[in-house]
C-alpha cells in the first residue's frame, strides 16, 4: 500500500502545481518523502542533495537521552512530514467555537478581538487588514534593501545567499533533531540586512505574509551583513495551539563585522492540561555565529509554554571583540518540564559573554538550567559573567542548575553565580498588607525577580510578557 503511495508521489514530481491545500505527504520518514517535499517546493537540486545528505546522516544518529525531562518514545515513522496549509474551511469560524479558557486568557492579556481571531486562523474582516499593514512595512524594508521573506521564497529568489549560509552555523551533521530538521524542514523566515543598514523596525513573523502554519520543522536564517543591525521577534504572548506535538525548529544567526542581531522569543505553546496530558515538545536548536569582528548576538527568551522545552540558544564568538548575550525567563507550572540554557563558545580574542537566567517552577513541574561556557586557548582576554537564579513554589517541583565551565586561557576570566530560593513570607506579607491579594502579590514579586530579563525585550513585547508571567503562575500559590 505504501509503496503505491510513494509511486504516486513520484508522478507528482514534475506536474504538481495546483490543489496544494488538500495535499498531505504520506506518513513516515524516507527518501521519497524528502524528495517530495523538495519537489513540491520546487527546490534546486543542491538543496535536495543537501537534504538527502542530512537524511543519510540521520540514519546513523541516535536520539539524545542525557536530558532531564524524559518523554515517551517518538515514532518518527508515524508522523506527517508535509501537510499543506489548511484551508479556511477547516478552521474555526467564530470565536465562540474556541475553548473558553483560551478566550479568558486573551482577555487577561488584553489582546484585541480581531487579533484573537487572527491568532486562531479565523478569517478576519476587511477593517482589520493585517495584510495591508504588512505590505506597508514591506515597502519600507525593500527601500532599504532588506530581504524579509519566507525561506522557501528566499530559496527561489536569493539562492546564492541561502546556499552560502544555510547550515553554516548548524551543520547537517549536528545532533539528531537538528539533522532531522535539515532533512525535512518545510518553511520558516529568512532575513538579510545589507551592509551598514539599521533595520528601522522590529521584524516579526507576525507581519510576514503567509506566516501561518509554518509547520513543526521550521527553519530560520538571519544574516546581518557588515555594520548592520536587526531586532527579530519570534512567537507571541498569546497561547498557541498546534496539532503537531513535536516541534524541532532550527534557527541560524550570522553576524558579520560590526553587525548586531537581537533575537527575542516569547513562547507560549500549549503546555498540556493540569494532569500533564498532551502539550507540545519544543526541541529547538538555536545558534548564532559572531563571524566578524566586533559583532554582537543577543538572545532573549521568555518560555512559559510547551509540555517540554528543551533548547539552548547558543553563541559562537569567533570574531575578535565579539559579544554574546543570553537573557532567559523560564516558567514551568503543573506538569511542565524545561531543560534550557545556553552555550557560549569563545574562540576569538577579547570576546565577552553574559548570561542571565531566571527560572521559576511551580506545581509539579521541573526546571533545569544547563549551560556551557567554554573559553578556548586562543580566546585571550575574554570574560564571561553568568547568573542563574531559581525560584521554587511548593515542594513538589524541582529546580536544577547544571553549568559546565571550561577555562583554557589564563588571561580570561569566568564568573558564575547561582541561587535558589523561594518567595519569602516577609515579602508576601508586605505586599498583602498594602492591599494586594496573594496572587497579585506573587505576580509582583515574580516580575521583580524577572525584571533584568524583561527589560531586554522590545517595549510592546515587554508589557505583554509581564502579564504573561503572572498568568503562567496562576493557581500555583495558596
Amino acid at each position: 500500500m505504501r509503496d503505491k503511495q510513494i509511486e504516486d508521489l513520484k508522478d507528482y514530481k514534475y506536474g504538481f502545481s495546483t490543489d496544494i491545500e488538500s495535499f498531505k505527504a504520506p506518513k513516515g520518514l524516507n527518501e521519497e518523502v524528502i524528495r517530495f517535499i523538495s519537489s513540491i517546493k520546487k527546490e534546486p537540486d543542491w538543496l535536495l542533495q543537501w537534504r538527502l545528505k542530512a537524511f543519510e546522516r540521520l540514519k546513523v544518529l541516535k536520539e539524545p537521552n542525557w536530558q532531564k525531562p524524559k518523554y515517551p518514545k517518538i515514532d518518527y515513522q508515524d508522523l506527517y512530514y508535509y501537510s499543506a496549509p489548511k484551508s479556511f474551511k477547516e478552521k474555526p469560524k467564530n470565536l465562540e467555537d474556541l475553548d473558553p479558557k483560551l478566550l479568558e486568557t486573551y482577555k487577561k492579556l488584553g489582546i484585541p478581538l480581531q487579533e484573537q481571531k487572527r491568532l486562531n486562523g479565523i478569517a478576519v474582516d476587511a477593517v482589520f487588514d493585517s495584510v495591508s499593514v504588512a505590505t506597508t512595512f514591506k515597502d519600507t524594508l525593500t527601500e532599504k534593501g532588506i530581504i524579509f521573506c519566507s525561506i522557501s521564497e528566499a530559496i527561489q529568489k536569493h539562492p546564492d545567499l541561502v546556499r552560502k549560509y544555510l547550515g553554516s552555523v548548524i551543520p547537517i551533521t549536528d545532533h539528531f533533531f537538528a539533522t532531522l530538521n535539515s532533512a525535512v524542514f518545510t518553511d520558516g523566515s529568512f532575513v538579510y540586512i545589507p551592509p551598514n543598514v539599521k533595520c528601522p523596525m522590529e521584524l516579526s513573523t507576525y507581519f510576514r505574509i503567509n506566516a501561518s502554519d509554518t509547520g513543526q520543522f521550521e527553519r530560520t536564517l538571519i544574516i546581518a551583513d557588515k555594520g548592520s543591525y536587526v531586532s527579530y521577534l519570534e512567537g507571541c504572548t498569546a497561547p498557541m495551539r498546534d496539532e503537531n506535538q513535536l516541534h524541532a525548529a532550527n534557527v541560524e544567526l550570522i553576524a558579520l563585522d560590526d553587525a548586531e542581531i537581537k533575537y527575542s522569543t516569547v513562547q507560549n505553546w500549549y503546555p498540556g492540561d493540569k494532569d500533564g496530558k498532551g502539550g507540545i515538545y519544543n526541541f529547538v536548536t538555536k545558534r548564532g555565529l559572531c563571524k566578524g569582528k566586533n559583532s554582537k548576538i543577543s538572545w532573549t527568551q521568555v518560555e512559559t509554554g510547551s509540555a517540554i522545552t528543551w533548547k539552548y540558544p547558543s553563541c559562537i564568538l569567533k570574531g575578535d571583540n565579539s559579544i554574546g548575550e543570553f537573557y532567559s525567563i523560564a516558567i514551568t507550572n503543573n506538569h511542565q518540564k524545561a531543560d534550557t540554557g545556553t552555550k557560549m563558545i569563545h574562540l576569538g580574542k577579547n570576546t565577552k559573554s553574559k548570561i542571565i537566567s531566571k527560572g521559576i517552577s511551580a506545581g509539579k513541574s521541573d526546571m533545569t538550567y544547563r549551560g556551557l561556557v567554554d573559553i578556548s586557548k586562543n580566546a585571550a582576554n575574554s570574560t564571561n559573567f553568568t547568573q542563574c537564579d531559581s525560584l521554587l513554589m511548593g515542594n513538589k517541583c524541582g529546580a536544577h542548575t547544571v553549568p559546565y565551565i571550561k577555562n583554557k586561557n589564563s588571561n580570561s576570566s569566568i564568573a558564575h553565580e547561582a541561587t535558589t530560593s523561594k518567595i519569602s513570607e516577609d515579602q508576601l506579607h508586605y505586599c498583602q498588607q498594602r492591599g494586594l491579594n496573594q496572587e497579585e502579590a506573587v505576580g509582583l514579586i515574580v516580575n521583580g525577580f524577572c525584571k533584568e530579563v524583561l527589560q531586554q525585550l522590545p517595549m510592546e513585547f515587554a508589557v505583554e510578557a509581564q502579564k504573561l508571567v503572572g498568568i503562567s503562575l496562576e493557581g500555583s500559590v495558596g
Partner: protein, 414 residues
C-alpha cells in the same frame, strides 16, 4: 583484560583467607566491574577526567594481583614528629600497624569486617573493583561519648616493590553517639605508575564529629582514585579537607548523606598543581532531612600545563526543607597551558531552601601585583604573596588549631 582479571582474581582468592560469604560478595563485585570496565568520558561523572584513557596512556597494562602475604618494613623516620598521634600504617594496600597508644583501649573496638557494603550505586565501577580486590577491611569503632585524645594519622605508603599495579584499599569508621575523631590521611608514595583505589566509609552517629584531613603532597607518578562516603545522623558534623598536589592524577570524591536533622558537612579543598598533573575533586552532598547544612570551598592554583577539575553537586530532597547549601570554587590560571573545568550543580526539590553556588576562574589580578610592587616587592614575591593569600583562605577554615598549624607548616603557607 577480562581474562587477566579473572585469573588474577582466582589467584588472589586462593592465596588469601576469606570466608565463603566474602568470596561470594567479591565475585559479585568483580562481575559488576567486568560488566562496566573502567569509567570513561562517556559517563557524565567522568566527562572531564577519562580515567580509562589516563590509565592506558600513563600505565599501560595493569596488574591486579597484589601479594598481601609479603611483610613490609616500616621506616619510623616518616612519622610526624610535631604531633603526638595514633597510627595506622598501610603499605601497598596492606595494613601493617594499628597503634592506638594514646587512647583508652575499652573505648575503641578494632575488628575486620566479614560483610561489606556493595556500594554499587550509580555508575561507579571503581567501587566494585575495590570491593573485589581489597584485602580484609578493618573497622574502627569509636564508642559512645568517647573523644579521641590525639589525632589518628593514616600513613598510606607505597614502596618501590610495586609498579604498574592496581592497589585497592578500604577502611571503615563507625562513630557512636557523642564521639569524635580527628584524622590525618597522609600519602607517602615511593612507587611509580600504580593505580591506587581507596575507599573510606564513615558512619556518623548522633552528635558525633569527624574531622578528616587528606594530604597528598609528595610528587609521584601514581594515579589515584579516592572515594569517601560519609553518612550522618542527627546533629553530627563532618569536616573534610583535601590538599591535592603530589600525584600525577587524583580524583577525590566525597559523597555525603545528611540523614539526620541539624547535621552539617563541610568540604574544603586545595589543588596546587604543576607540570602536567590532572586533579579533580567531586563532591556530592545529599540533603535528605530538614534543617541540614553543607558548605564547600575549593581553590585551585594551576601552573604549567596542569589541569584542575571541580564537580560539585548539592542535592536537596523534597523532605529537606530549611536546607542551607553553599558552594564556591575559585581557580587561578598561572600559565597559558593551564586549564580549569568546573561543573557546580544544584538539584533541588524543596522550596524553603537557601542554596547558592559560585565559580570564578582567571589570572592573578594585575592591580594587586602592581600595588605590592609599588611597595617594594619584586614581581615574584608579589605573586607568591597573592597565591599564598588565595590558598590560606581555605586552610584557615580548618577548625582544629593543632592540625591547622602543622598543615600550614607542611604545605608551606604562613
Amino acid at each position: 583484560m577480562e581474562q587477566k582479571l579473572k585469573t588474577e582474581f582466582e589467584k588472589f582468592i586462593s592465596t588469601s583467607n576469606f570466608s565463603n560469604q566474602e568470596i561470594k560478595l567479591k565475585k559479585e563485585a568483580l562481575d559488576n566491574f567486568l560488566k562496566n570496565g573502567f569509567p570513561s568520558r562517556k559517563l557524565e561523572n567522568w566527562k572531564f577526567s577519562d580515567i580509562n584513557q589516563i590509565i592506558q596512556k600513563n600505565i599501560g597494562e595493569l596488574a591486579f594481583y597484589n601479594d598481601y602475604s609479603v611483610e613490609n618494613e616500616i621506616n619510623d623516620d616518616i612519622f610526624i614528629k610535631e604531633i603526638e598521634h595514633n597510627k595506622i600504617v598501610i603499605i601497598n594496600g596492606k595494613v601493617e600497624r594499628l597503634s592506638f597508644e594514646y587512647e583508652e583501649k575499652d573505648k575503641i573496638n578494632l575488628s575486620t569486617l566479614d560483610n561489606f557494603n556493595q556500594n554499587s550505586n550509580d555508575d561507579n565501577s571503581l567501587l566494585s573493583l575495590n570491593n573485589s580486590f581489597s584485602n580484609k577491611i578493618h573497622n574502627i569503632l569509636v564508642k559512645k561519648n568517647y573523644s579521641f585524645k590525639k589525632p589518628l594519622v593514616i600513613y598510606q605508603i607505597t614502596n618501590e616493590k610495586v609498579s604498574n599495579t592496581n592497589i585497592n584499599f578500604q577502611l571503615n569508621f563507625e562513630l557512636e553517639e557523642n564521639s569524635s575523631i580527628r584524622i590525618i590521611n597522609l600519602s607517602d608514595d615511593n612507587s611509580e605508575k600504580n593505580f591506587i583505589n581507596n575507599l573510606f566509609n564513615f558512619n556518623l552517629g548522633k552528635n558525633s564529629i569527624l574531622k578528616n584531613y587528606k594530604i597528598d603532597k609528595k610528587s609521584n607518578t601514581n594515579i589515584k582514585y579516592d572515594y569517601s562516603s560519609i553518612i550522618q545522623k542527627e546533629n553530627s558534623i563532618s569536616e573534610t579537607f583535601i590538599f591535592s598536589s603530589g600525584s600525577h592524577y587524583i580524583k577525590n570524591e566525597v559523597n555525603c548523606n545528611l540523614e539526620g536533622k541539624y547535621s552539617s558537612a563541610f568540604i574544603n579543598g586545595i589543588h596546587l598543581l604543576s607540570k602536567n598533573k590532572h586533579h579533580e575533586i567531586r563532591t556530592k552532598t545529599n540533603h535528605l532531612y530538614e534543617n541540614t547544612k553543607s558548605y564547600q570551598l575549593i581553590k585551585s592554583v594551576i601552573n604549567d600545563s596542569s589541569k584542575s577539575v571541580y564537580q560539585g553537586k548539592i542535592y536537596v530532597d523534597s523532605k529537606a526543607q530549611k536546607t542551607d547549601g553553599y558552594q564556591l570554587s575559585k581557580a587561578l590560571l598561572l600559565n597559558e597551558q593551564a586549564e580549569f573545568n568546573a561543573k557546580p550543580e544544584l538539584e533541588i526539590y524543596a522550596d524553603d531552601v537557601k542554596c547558592s553556588h559560585g565559580s570564578a576562574s582567571g589570572s592573578l589580578d594585575d592591580n594587586s601585583i602592581f600595588y605590592l610592587m609599588s611597595r617594594g616587592l619584586n614581581q615574584k614575591t608579589a605573586k607568591e604573596l597573592l597565591i599564598n593569600g588565595f590558598l590560606l583562605d581555605v586552610v584557615e577554615k580548618i577548625t582544629d588549631d593543632e592540625i591547622k598549624k602543622f598543615l600550614k607548616n607542611m604545605i608551606g603557607l604562613n
